[in-house]
Amino acid sequence: MGEVFFPVHDLLRRRLQTGLVVAGLTLCVASTVFLLLFCARLGLGISSIAEGRLTTGFMIVLRQLLVFAGALVIIAGVATISFMVFFMMSQRVKDVGLMKAIGCPNGLIFGYLINELAIVVIVSCVLGTILGIAADFASTSLLTGAGFESTWKLADAWPALLVAVIFLVVALVLGAKPILDATKVECVKAMSPNYYIELTSGSRFRATSRSSLVARIAMRSLSRRKAATIRVLACLTTVFVLLTVTVAGGVIASQTTNDWIEKAMGRNVLVIGHHEMLDQCRFLYSKFYEAKGDRSFNYTDEKYSMPENLSNRLGNISGVTNTEERLVTQAHVAEVRSYVIDPETLATIPVGDSHERDSLIIGVEPDKVLGQWFVDGRFLDENDSFDATVGDSLAQAIFSRPLDQSMSFSNGTYDIVGVCIEPINNGFVAYVPLKVLRRVSSIPMPNMLVVRIDPSADEAVVVNKIRSELASENEAFDVLELDEILEKSVAFVGHLWSAIMLLPLFSLISASLCMTAYVMLAVTEQKQEFGVLRALGTRPSAIVRLVSLQNLVVLLSSYGVGVALGIMTTLMILVPDPIVTSLTVAEICGWLLAASASIFIMSLYPAMKAARASILQCIT
């Protein structure tokens, strides 16, 4: 019999097992291909949505999460494939012994089985790739239908081929291992159930309850398939890490980034100034959530100057808790090269180049400032003079090591003491002390006033009082309520995170399929045992309980490790200074519990099927 004919014939003879493995591998390849393509599409989609918007700090967090999720998708796929092929081929060890016993040479046996493996893996990879690309096409069409900008091109699907090739190689290498191991074992040992039933000695007998009996059989079945159980644990753990990173990362990042915006802009904050200045202020903030170019504005115009003592008068209005004067202007800022000393070699290393660009410059009184920015380094303090805290986009755009560098504008050089996340002007901003800016810009008076209202006060009443005070001074001055802009910014960030949160949905489907495939294979292997148990008087529901318990042990073990690793990764690597409230924890727990519950429910199907099969069918 030929080396190709025999494997084909053998695979067809084991229709159920072959079908299960092909279906499992196909679904695994398909879901990985789909997830990867979708992940890339989502990333590109986010880039296009965020083009000209979002500050660089936000983009870094988004990109990190997407790259990490993409890498995990591939790792999860490889882990799943390795489990499936190992499981399939480790069941053939007894056949190896039988073939050796009738005189087949090792090389021929290996050839037969590796051909079987190759046929199954190639068919699955081809089918999986086609299915994955088709699923991506379908989801893109759905997204386009839902109003997202997304175009599908076959040429964009090249990563699918890469995935197929990687999986093919991994599957062949890992699947060949148990066969190679078996060909090295004496045929008597290979034929003995002891070789593949990895149970060798039991403990002294103690009678137990019915539920403990179910637990005993379930746990022994898991340890009997030790190698396969370890592999499925690894596979599900990776999936849970992916799930946690996307869910926890998404939720934490969403809340953290919202917090960044809220604190930078402040709640219950009003901006007071000339109505043209307020229009410009609204425009600068809206650049965060709407793609807009620059527009010329003369900040130095005297008509924007705030009247003297207005700040004190507004501060005396009941319901106003703080007032802060600001001077807003625009300047052409330049990077200043500097030198740092290498702590190891003590050599002097030049830092930076000579980049430059336009930026918003805001003069603030550091001791009165109302915003609380997320800062790398520190914000300005009252002793600072020629110092600056720059926005994240400006820092990324023109500096290489901003905290070790200085910037210059209007003939002054400012040491950079911090980099902050700031939505205004999309992060192209530099904060400097007000007194210094007044001096160097020759604008004598501040042109903006920021006021915080007591949250318990009636905002409308306070705003009316401020308006009448302003009217008595100058009709051109007005009030801009920042809360409305803040809501728009937060909603935009929320929208981006919700798009990313689609990823766990697909990784969840992938995990469910993987778990179902594992249970189906495990159930097939335990079929005879279930038949005997039922013949001895075990009800079908007890078989469901037994399989469910096995599933639960595998699921909860991988859940515990995967979620812990995922949360650690998210908190320590992906989101800097995360905001984790009890609500965040509840939200993440809710998502992850729902996810594992759905995986568990899906894995019940093979259990129910096993319980419904006729006893004779199982035993024979």
Binding site: L199, F205, A207, R210, A535, G537, R539, P540, I615, I619
Partner: protein, 227 residues
């Protein structure tokens, strides 16, 4: 003979093999009284195992009625049959069908533990059965570590654990050497002497000699043979 334990009326069993229907049991009638050892013989594939499976409630007839302890098994659902098997029937399968994940002692104890018998009673019974079957040294071994004869003794011990009123034994000597077969026959003889009701499928002439009722399955029907 006491009251009737097993009664079968007009029992038929048809299997679908490929596209073909194979009628294994045809209008079969059977009566087994309490304490009786009924031995069923017949050529391979004549339906002996199928008959035992139907009597034990692990298979259902295509038509006809089967009563065991006056319960019509054809009318009962899977859960009822499971409980019935656990309490009333002890099976010794031809292939022994031990549970590979449980040790010898655990296999024997399984039916008692499943019936929620007290732990001390279970442990005492397992100990007695291990001693009776000369399996004490094998108590903590797994079935895959036993010889065929030892596996069969475990299967007997498990079938007897709950002291079920009906024992169904399929080809008890078919896979064994002469000496082990003789031991098995002695065990069956001892059970018969103790009044255990048994239905046994075999080709072994030695078992015919100790039977109360000798039946032969021919063309799907049971024919009573002279002792």
């Amino acid at each position: 003979m006491g009251k009737t334990v097993v009664r079968a009326f007009d029992l038929c069993k048809v299997f679908q093999v490929g596209g073909e229907k194979v009628e294994v049991l045809r209008n079969l009638e059977l009566d087994v009284g309490e304490g009786e050892l009924a031995v069923v013989s017949g050529s391979s594939g004549s339906g002996k195992t199928t008959l035992l499976n139907i009597v034990g409630g692990i298979d259902r007839p295509t038509s006809g009625k089967i009563y065991v302890f006056d319960n019509d098994l054809t009318e009962k659902d899977e859960d009822w049959l499971a409980d019935f098997r656990c309490s009333n029937v002890g099976f010794v399968f031809q292939a022994y069908n031990l549970i590979f994940t449980l040790t010898v002692a655990e296999n024997i104890a399984f039916p008692m533990e499943w019936l929620r018998k007290p732990a001390d009673e279970t442990e005492k019974r397992v100990e007695d059965l291990l001693r009776d079957m000369k399996l004490e040294s094998r108590a903590n071994h797994f079935p895959s570590q036993l010889s065929g004869g030892e596996q069969q003794r475990v299967a007997f011990a498990r079938a007897l654990a709950n002291d079920p009123p009906l024992l169904l034994i399929d080809e008890p000597t078919g896979n064994l050497d002469a000496k082990t077969s003789q031991n098995t026959i002695r065990l069956i003889q001892r059970l018969a002497d103790n009044g255990k009701t048994m239905v046994l499928a075999t080709h072994d002439e030695r078992i015919f000699k100790i039977s109360d009722k000798r039946l032969s399955l021919e063309d799907g029907k049971l024919v009573k043979l002279d002792g």
